[in-house]
Symmetry: C2
Subunit: 476 residues, 2 copies
């Protein structure tokens, strides 16, 4: 008999209460056990993911490794203990008013609902970064399976649940839901404490609104994508037109353009030579297989709409073998600015736009016209005559990450990565969804005032090794 | 000619752009200059605040000192530089995939709208903690003046603006708005980047909803108050009834009960002796002057409504000299649980409720019935026979701060303070509104990938002194 969603969330909540006081060591062990189990099952998982997503074997094999790597990075982040943010002020009766003993640490939020993405069946899927960081934070997780790859998601879920159970996880700590209505109900359920979502702006915003409308609103961490504009100076465009065109094409066709970090817009001062290079390169680009027919349909619709923007011209398409064409369009800066939002469409798939600027003022004006984005970039030469400061200042206002002479696709999963950014890049620009700090989304501070040692969590006691790296009386 | 709000916000945004790259030293200097100017003006400010708020001179004089102290703590927090969260991963081509150079720090959000509270004309007013932390974060501020004390707010605003200008702050970095509609418009304006609010659940929720409904939603940090239940074991209630009653009465009449940390509910296993003590003590309590006639009206209405809850009995009132009575009611745990939300009303002013439990199971059931609160507490004896663990676990779920054998009123402004907590204590339980970490609400991370040294902010360069305490390649 199927469990009702209400029972499932109640069971997750109870499981969370049981692991709330697990030590960092226990949580790390669980994360590593899940990572090991995933690596072991690679051979069974990859063929099923290939069938469901059209992604090639090498990419999916690498993605399993990236996913287990994320889990292991989270295990190390938990061992590191800085996420506890231990802060202590000792009582001081000489102050006016006298200061009580205060000991602060973070605590886990509760049941986290995770909505996996379509484009990374492993790394942003059931056992992906959001799940890893929620478990690392000491939360229970209920994962809404992406309808694009249900079979491999169920397999990953089973592997993960069994691996966790083997190291003592209580029943219900990790579970899956599948249908659309269950996803909404998960956001609205009183025992759901936070949501992590990776997907479209449209879908993410609807769920964000539902999370905000609750009687008790909950944090909603939505990673909704980006236009990821890359700006190319005149010197770069003339000195390295071919390399820039090659790099751009490689980046917009990586994963068949189905990356949230795809550079959808290349803004160039003097784009003629780059466009000429692209005309040749794009025509020869290999065929692209998209995730599924719905994605093809949506891609083609968005591409056709962007092609209708006044002043938008096709630079080149490839032969269209595969599911769809690789398409690069170009438009003048003045037409681009006139078109407003209609030209700034995120096209999920191998379509991109080159914006041709006559001068650096136009480059700046185009930069100003973008809103929040996961990433942006600047391509310039050594000793470039273009003044970089003003452009950089604008990009800092809108970006979670700024890339210099590289491309934004291919995210390093590290401590210094920031994957987020002003809306609509994310619904909460204060946190990253990728990298070691992603677990901070699911912890909140709590302060203990005047507590006897015996009732304090062991990490807050006077003899805790954690105090060596804590802030005590204002000093680190 | 009055400036339009749109112009005012535009000017604040421009001022923010100018100070975005100010050094921590410059920001600290500005905070200290404001603190010094406030202290100097104490003699002029306090009499006006007395007229507008009915609060006594000693309290208001102390509050100015607390306010300048908050500004100076923020100046030290900025000098500390940990809020920059500097994190660096060096390029490593030996990894698969090769890792690029990544340098992460936080950056300021932009224009912050601050809504000051009625009950602390200085510490949560125009130059209060929210303003101090927003400026410390490197933001511009526009402060909605609380209608309860407009004159002293304008005086503080002028002092603060002049002090900031004297150390080089651009025009419009700090400014005020007064009318209700301007407050809403501030939340809705496209250039407003975040809101900090201290006040009622009703008013805060309305503004929170407006912040979430925006085309580009913004962070809304609302501190909406709390019921702050304090739990007393049977042993404590019998061994220290008088001390407990005295402490409770002192705490619920501090500031005439107009504190968001007022312990509105005392939940006691075996309350008869404490109630008997309270009957005597409350009758003799001094008269209370509330902030203004509107607050008196609202207090009396809420008190009368809570008095109508079935099973609610008056323990005692004082003589009612001043603006209103000090009132303590009592109710059995079973009646309290039956009454649901109607008994769990925050009464702003000197009214409180003692919940009388027959046994420790009832104490636990009552604890479970509370939702998010700024603070909660446990009063117990040394070697108390009551098992504390289950109660503490429940309080950890709902509280931002838990107090042991002390009272929640009187907030220490320190590094380890947490003033926040699950909704409705705050609209964002991940951050504190009081203490050094409050500035983190107004910073977001940004990562720089593969950047030449010369285009990096000085704190991210290889020769930055800040790197000594940064996390580099995963290690602190």
């Amino acid at each position: 008999m199927a469990m009702t969603l209400d029972n499932q969330i109640q069971q997750a909540h109870n499981a969370w209460l049981q692991i709330r006081n697990w030590s960092p060591q226990q949580i790390s062990t669980m994360l590593n056990a899940i990572a090991d189990a995933l690596d072991l099952a690679k051979g069974e998982l990859v063929p099923v993911a290939m069938e469901e997503t059209n992604l090639p074997e090498a990419r999916l094999t690498g993605e399993v490794g990236r996913t287990s790597g994320q889990l292991r990075l989270m295990a190390r982040a938990v061992q590191d203990r800085t996420y506890l943010d231990i802060t202590i002020d000792h009582a001081d009766s000489s102050l006016t008013p006298p200061r009580p003993d205060l000991r602060m640490k973070t605590t886990s939020l509760g049941v986290v609902g995770v909505f996996g993405a379509s484009n990374f069946p492993f790394a942003f899927g059931v056992a992906g970064g959001d799940t890893a960081s929620a478990i690392a934070a000491g939360c229970a997780v209920i994962i809404k399976v992406n309808p694009g790859h249900p079979r491999v998601s169920r397999m990953v879920g089973t592997i993960m649940i069994n691996a966790a159970k083997n190291v003592g996880a209580p029943d219900g700590l990790i579970s899956l839901v599948e249908d659309f209505d269950a996803g909404i109900a998960l956001v609205e359920h009183p025992l759901t404490a936070a949501i992590a979502f990776t997907g479209s702006t449209h879908g993410g915003r609807a769920l964000f609104d539902a999370a905000c409308r609750r009687e008790i609103p909950i944090p909603f961490y939505g990673e909704l994508g980006g236009l990821n504009p890359i700006f190319v100076t005149r010197a770069m465009a003339s000195q390295q037109a071919k390399e820039t065109a090659e790099g751009f094409l490689a980046s917009i066709t990586m994963g068949a353009g189905q990356f949230c970090t795809k550079p959808g817009f290349l803004i160039v001062e003097g784009a003629d030579e780059i466009n000429a290079q692209l005309a040749t390169l794009v025509s020869a680009a290999p065929g692209q297989k998209l995730l599924n027919s719905k994605i093809v349909e949506l891609h083609d619709k968005n591409r056709d709409e962007i092609s209708q923007v006044p002043g938008m011209n096709l630079v080149a398409q490839n032969s269209g073998e595969g599911d769809t064409y690789v398409s690069v369009f170009t438009i003048s800066a003045s037409d681009f600015l006139k078109a407003g939002a209609s030209a700034k469409r995120e096209v999920f798939g191998p379509t991109a736009v080159v914006v041709n600027c006559e001068n650096s003022e136009e480059l700046i004006d185009v930069a100003r016209s973008f809103s929040g984005t996961l990433a942006s970039g600047i391509h310039a030469t050594d000793n470039d005559p273009t003044e970089i400061g003003p452009l950089l200042s604008i990009l800092e206002n809108i970006s979670g990450r700024i890339v210099w002479n590289q491309w934004p696709t291919g995210l390093a999963v590290t401590w210094a990565m920031h994957h987020g950014g002003p809306y609509p890049a994310s619904t909460n620009s204060l946190f990253t969804s990728v990298g070691a700090k992603a677990l901070l989304r699911f912890r909140r501070p709590i302060a203990y005032q005047n507590f006897p040692q015996r009732y304090l969590d062991s990490v807050l006691r006077d003899d805790a090794p954690e105090l060596k790296s804590a802030r005590i009386n204002g000093e680190l």
